[in-house]
């Protein structure tokens, strides 16, 4: 397992995500980097991993690169298609998703996410896509992986502009409610490093910095006093084989690898 001669930041992130999927059975993901990570995990560490799409497709075998979770090539040749009521009710809320992948405009210290607005909901500066399935995935997936495109105090603020998908820490502030079954965010992969939560009611801590990044740099770009793991390490660089798989077999048309 030799390190690749060259690799991009995107490849580093995808490979890091793939390594964390070694023991997950069912992954709920959107198209893009999460799908690449699942595909790579499938080809390297975890042949039994199964991808479930929000569109209701389970066990997709696309014959060409899918342009979305509901692309016709995702359906043709899939193992199953269920309706949204079964997907969100039975598959997801029923507890059959081990890992859910989510993106976010903002994440806080305990792994709550904002995908709704920047600014105030009544008069937003930027109207974001909203929940979609995110609030449902956060509450019900075994654990949640977040891939962030930015790592700065605006994306990791001390307080979110809006809590779309609440961490179990925030849910626990409402003890009169039945608590969500999910662990919440376990892993955040950013352009600077990897943050993880060890306890269901705990906070994120920095466990890995990417090659060439220091923990001080990460702290500086984070909007709260970021905890640093006792065994902080450097993110493992992609192997030559991983990069070959990504470029030559998984995303041959460079749709997502940039």
């Amino acid at each position: 397992m030799t390190t690749a001669a060259d690799f991009t930041e995107t490849e580093l992130v995808v490979c890091a995500a793939a390594k964390m999927l070694a023991r997950s059975n069912t992954v709920f993901a959107g198209i893009g980097l999460p799908t690449l990570a699942v595909d790579l995990a499938h080809r390297t560490l975890n042949p039994d991993i199964q991808l479930v799409y929000e569109s209701g497709v389970a066990g997709a075998h696309p014959e060409s690169m899918a342009e979305g979770i509901a692309d016709s090539v995702v359906v043709s040749g899939a193992e199953a298609v269920v309706n949204m009521h079964a997907l969100f009710g039975y598959v997801l809320q029923g507890g059959n998703v081990d890992v859910g992948f989510l993106g976010a405009a903002q994440i806080d210290r305990f792994g709550s996410l904002n995908t709704t607005v920047i600014g105030d909901w009544e008069s937003p500066k930027v109207r974001l896509p909203g929940s979609g399935g995110a609030a449902d995935i956060m509450a019900n997936a075994g654990e949640v992986f977040v891939i962030l495109r930015r790592h700065d105090p605006a994306a990791l603020p001390s307080e979110l502009d809006f809590v779309t998908s609440a961490s179990p820490v925030r849910a626990a502030e409402h003890p009169d409610f039945i608590q969500p079954r999910g662990f919440g965010v376990s892993t955040v992969i950013t352009p600077l490093g990897i943050l993880r939560r060890k306890d269901r009611l705990g906070e994120l801590e920095l466990t890995h910095v990417h090659p060439g990044v220091t923990s001080e740099q990460v702290q500086e770009q984070t909007g709260w006093d970021l905890a640093i793991s006792d065994d902080l390490s450097v993110t493992q660089e992609p192997t030559g084989e991983e990069v070959r798989l990504l470029r030559d077999e998984i995303d041959t048309v460079r749709l997502y690898l940039r």
Binding site: H61, E63, V81, G94, E249
Partner: protein, 315 residues
């Protein structure tokens, strides 16, 4: 699921069904998992809470065999076989022992599986206002609708330790395809902790994947797939064999006589090693006479992106 999913029925029952379990065997007239129920009787598993919307002959057998301590259901008769006499003896005269019963309507049982599958604490239902049923079942409760301030009844989730169903076919991973009457099978499967599916046949992955909408139960929900041809006898499998209506009619006198019923169980279930021997005991000619003539569904087109097949042929 990995390839360990495909196992023998005795192995699956031994591994996944434990004494004291709550088990659901579902199938509404169609695809009743009789062979699996028989195997539970053979293995002498006791203390079971048996869940089944329409108990049918299968519950008469399982209750008479002594393994069932509690019945959860919504109907106490067999459509064409009339009364289930073992069930009636247990309830009307505690003979040979009382049988505690949790009683619902069909929609309420369906919603119990639905709530169980969705891991919800309850499901609301429009039935029962003015009925005596909530009075004899403390688990039928009421909540206040926050939009109107009026009450509505709710039923609790049903989460079996094991759900068992029968199906036409599955692939080796456990993607299960069913056509004809599909009952509550999807809900009962997702509601369960563990799932056994007996099938008429295992087919190639490509057969399943040619028609993904036909997959009622995706592989991630299935723990064991067991190949048990004619595993639904005396019920039927759409497109494969018909219901053994004569068997249902013959059941009434058997069920009426406790000694005869127990002898039937000893001979046909305990006295046979497995389902193949059971079919021998029933008679292969009789089984053969149940075969259906073909009536094809026709094919629909899922389409493929032109030239797509070559693009990723390595996969």
């Amino acid at each position: 699921m990995d390839s360990d999913t495909v196992v023998s029925l005795p192995h699956a029952v031994e591994k996944l069904v434990n004494p004291g379990d709550t088990i659901a065997l579902e199938g509404f007239s169609h695809l009743i998992p009789f062979a699996a129920g028989h195997e539970i009787i053979r293995q002498g598993i006791t203390g079971l809470t048996f869940c089944r919307m329409t108990p049918d002959l299968l519950s008469d057998m399982m209750i008479a065999a002594g393994g069932v301590d509690r019945l959860v259901c919504s109907f106490f008769a067999s459509g064409s076989a009339g009364s289930l006499y073992e069930v009636r003896r247990r309830i009307e005269s505690q003979d040979p022992a009382p049988l505690p019963v949790e009683e619902y309507s069909h929609h309420a049982m369906t919603l119990r599986y639905h709530a169980g599958a969705a891991r919800l604490p309850f499901a609301p239902i429009s039935s029962f206002v003015g009925s005596d049923m909530p009075g004899i079942n403390p688990d039928i409760r009421a909540v206040v609708d926050p939009y109107t301030g009026k009450k509505i009844y709710v039923v609790p989730p049903l989460n079996p330790d094991v759900t068992i169903i029968h199906a036409q076919r599955a692939d080796r991973k456990g993607n299960v395809q069913i056509w004809g009457i599909a009952g509550v099978q999807q809900e009962a499967v997702y509601a369960a902790d563990k799932v056994i599916v007996t099938v008429e046949e295992i087919v190639d992955d490509e057969v399943v994947r040619a028609d993904p909408n036909r997959t009622l139960i995706p592989a991630h929900a299935v723990d064991a797939v067991c190949v048990v041809p004619t595993g639904a006898h005396p019920s039927y499998v759409q497109g494969s064999y018909d219901r053994d209506n004569a068997f249902y009619r013959e059941w009434t006198p058997i069920s009426q006589d406790p000694a005869e019923l127990r002898e039937w169980i000893d001979t046909h279930i305990r006295g046979t090693k497995d389902h193949e021997e059971y079919l021998d005991a029933i008679g292969r000619d009789r089984i053969a006479a149940l075969r259906m003539a073909p009536r094809p569904s026709g094919s629909v087109d899922y389409g493929r992106r032109p030239d797509a097949s070559t693009e990723r042929s390595s996969r």
